[in-house]
Symmetry: C2
């Protein structure tokens, strides 16, 4: 076992079609996939208005001649993909919105740069305890005037400034935060270790850098930037709030989505 990360075999059952399978003549894809694809296709064709009641599991069982567990898995995955809403006791309904949920992978910037085969180094400009401003206190869920940790770090890719990371941290969640050598370990990486079970909310927008950010990134204050604001919580308790500023053109977020 060398490489655990491995492409999933997309097309199975390719060669080797035994007489047994050939007689049944169909299962090139797994039954639960067939049910999924059938419903996806009909949903896409608009067979059900948004919010309309779709066939029950029992009906699909009869239609496809498979067990309920198989139908259940198909429907459960469609729900996960946001294509249907299921309500226990009521039924399965076509999703209200034509929302397309995309998965976009956010990686630690250190790993991201290294994966491109480039070098990463960070410069620490602020790393101290501060009295939280009203806004910061609210975002971190601490009392106004409480002590919070504040770091300002610039990440470079091959020596070029790529990201200005302005971060506030709730001391109760990471009391030893300021003892970390941020030229060796990124805050993201450290916080992941300290408070691993986290959920977060982020927003991405374009904007202009502050005077300090412009200086640290080597920009004019009129140069556009991509700004990611991220607030991380652990079971509802705020851990950290970060503003990540990237010079336009040098950074982009990529992702892909599937139906």
């Amino acid at each position: 076992m060398k490489s655990a990360v491995k492409a999933r075999t997309a097309t199975k059952f390719a060669a080797q079609l035994s007489v047994k399978n050939a007689s049944i003549l169909a299962p090139l894809t797994a039954p639960f996939e067939r049910v999924k694809q059938h419903l996806k296709g009909r949903l896409a064709l608009g067979d059900w208005m948004p919010g309309a009641l779709m066939p029950s599991e029992a009906e699909l069982v009869a239609q496809f001649g498979v067990s309920r567990m198989t139908v259940n898995r198909a429907l459960r995955e469609l729900q996960l993909e946001g294509l249907v809403d299921r309500v226990q006791g009521a039924g399965t309904f076509a999703a209200q919105l034509n929302r397309v949920s995309s998965t976009l992978t956010i990686r630690d910037i250190h790993e991201e740069i290294l994966q491109r085969g480039h070098t990463h180094h960070a410069t620490v400009h602020i790393a101290k305890e501060e009295i939280a401003s009203a806004i910061v206190a609210q975002r971190l869920g601490v009392a106004a005037g409480a002590r919070v940790f504040h770091t300002l770090i610039v990440h470079h890719e091959n020596g070029v400034p790529l990201q200005c990371e302005d971060r506030y941290v709730n001391p109760e969640c990471a009391p030893d935060y300021l003892a970390v050598d941020f030229t060796r370990v990124t805050p993201t990486h450290y916080l992941l270790d300290v408070a691993p079970l986290w959920e977060a909310h982020f927003s991405v927008q374009a904007g202009l850098p502050s005077a300090r950010e412009a200086k640290l990134l080597g920009l004019k204050q009129t140069d556009p930037c991509l700004i990611v604001s991220r607030r991380t919580t652990n079971r509802g308790v705020p851990i950290t709030q970060a503003r990540l500023t990237h010079p336009a053109g040098h950074y982009q977020i990529e992702g892909q989505y599937k139906p």
Copy 2:
């Protein structure tokens, strides 16, 4: 059936603990959830190095006293969340990267504006057939010099320009594209109908508007914008390529992610 979109009941089995359940004394959460949480916790604590072999389904069955289907579902969901890699025949491995995959919901801009309780209207500035430039031809996977459809539409929220949508469409996928009244139906909505089973790749970046975009959005050419580039394909066949330009401050992409 009024509101199909409904919060999932997070904590079930709340009241009403029958004698039968009380005797077993535990299942406040479903067994497959318990297995999931157990493994998540140990993963977070670093019990397995990235890439390390984790317990097999059979071992977990013995440990938790549940059926293999239950363990299988727990592991399958962990795989979906990117926390483990599973290889048929080999086993389950702790995920290599500390990647955090986020789900971000991209909606049709018309629905998005309406959901905010605001009015949407669109102005069409270009809607014609063109000879594809080299770059566009490559992106749409057509021969250089081939005919393609080109639309340039500005979307307004409460009368304020919100998005400049510069779009090229492969005529083979949507031959009647230009016949659509884009003041009533957005291109995204129409294309979703015509070619519903699609996958896409997108990138988000900050940048400056072109002269035309600045004029249409009522901006100076030095005002920063959030630019989304999206290329949509259907089973590998390119359908459409769009550049969506938004004035900074008036638009942001939001999302959330969970472990």
